[in-house]
């Protein structure tokens, strides 16, 4: 898939994946890389940026195995931002689908 395209979609994915509870970075990276191919390392710069923009808050939590994990919590601003992105995504895919269907109609 086109790399710019992937990056835009990646943002929606990490936001949505944290709606059902806080997640840690590795978890998010793995969940996304299972669905589509990408350099897993790109997830962390994105998480950093979204945190800086106030869409995530972070905290460290001890784990039974290994060093403390960094958890990401979706803030109210994060929820608003996610809803906006999803609305944009839906209207965008709808438009593309219409064009594709029209174009392929016999």
């Amino acid at each position: 898939m086109n790399i710019q395209f992937k990056k835009g979609v990646l943002e929606i994915c990490v936001l949505v994946l944290t709606t059902r509870g806080d997640r840690y970075g590795y978890e998010l990276a793995v969940m996304i890389s299972e669905k589509f191919e990408l350099a897993v390392g790109s997830v962390y710069p994105l998480l950093n940026r979204l945190t800086q923009e106030g869409y995530f808050s972070t905290y460290l939590k001890e784990s039974t195995e290994g060093p403390p994990r960094k958890y990401y919590h979706l803030t109210p601003e994060g929820w608003g931002h996610m809803r906006m992105l999803i609305a944009e995504w839906n209207s965008f895919t709808k438009a593309v689908n219409e064009i594709v269907e029209d174009g392929l109609r016999p």
Partner: protein, 184 residues
């Protein structure tokens, strides 16, 4: 690539970042290796799935540099932000470096003109003492005219330079959003 060499490479690429910020970023990758190991993945596998450290460092630095240039108003920071954005691709090389260098050169030469006019004023006074092409009152009035011109030019240029700074930042941010594929 082993965990150690991956972390060292990333550390080296981020050497210009403040230590606090660098440690925070590196911790994410350190944790990634730790957790990958717990899930039975080798260091090489983990390094491979993380992707090229240069790409990662580029993505980390991008937002950081633009922000730094914004918070600390200095022109070295601005140039760094420009180059961080440029490093994202050939497209940017053409669309950022070209206008940036051209505009910076024009501004610089205009500043040189302002300085030259001021020096010319000084020269007429020196001349009136040594060579006496002009009498002293003539030289003085010529010098005053020169200095007035130079000061006016400098005031105008100061305004233009800060506008240039602000515009470059704005353009970089816009460009960053485009490159990141973010429609916001």
């Amino acid at each position: 690539m082993t965990k150690q060499s991956y972390m060292n490479e990333l550390d080296r690429l981020l050497r210009n970042v403040s230590e606090e910020q660098r440690k925070e970023w590196l911790y994410d990758y350190y944790l990634h290796f730790e957790q990958a190991a717990q899930n039975g993945r080798s260091e090489e596998e983990a390094a491979l799935e993380l992707g090229d450290p240069r790409q990662i460092a580029g993505e980390l630095l991008l937002g950081y540099r633009v922000e730094q240039a914004e918070s600390s108003k200095n022109y070295r920071g601005l140039s760094r932000a420009v180059f961080a954005t440029v490093s994202l691709g050939l497209f940017n090389l053409i669309f950022i470096i070209g206008p940036y260098v051209a505009l910076a050169a024009v501004l610089l030469s205009l500043w040189a003109v302002a300085a030259a006019i001021a020096v010319a004023g000084l020269a007429t006074i020196v001349d009136s003492f040594w060579v006496e092409t002009f009498t002293k009152p003539q030289a003085l009035s010529l010098a005053l005219i020169c200095w007035a011109l130079s000061i006016l030019l400098a005031i105008g240029l100061k305004f233009l330079t800060s506008k240039f700074y602000a515009m470059t930042l704005k353009y970089l941010k816009f460009n960053t959003r485009v490159v990141r594929g973010n429609s916001k």
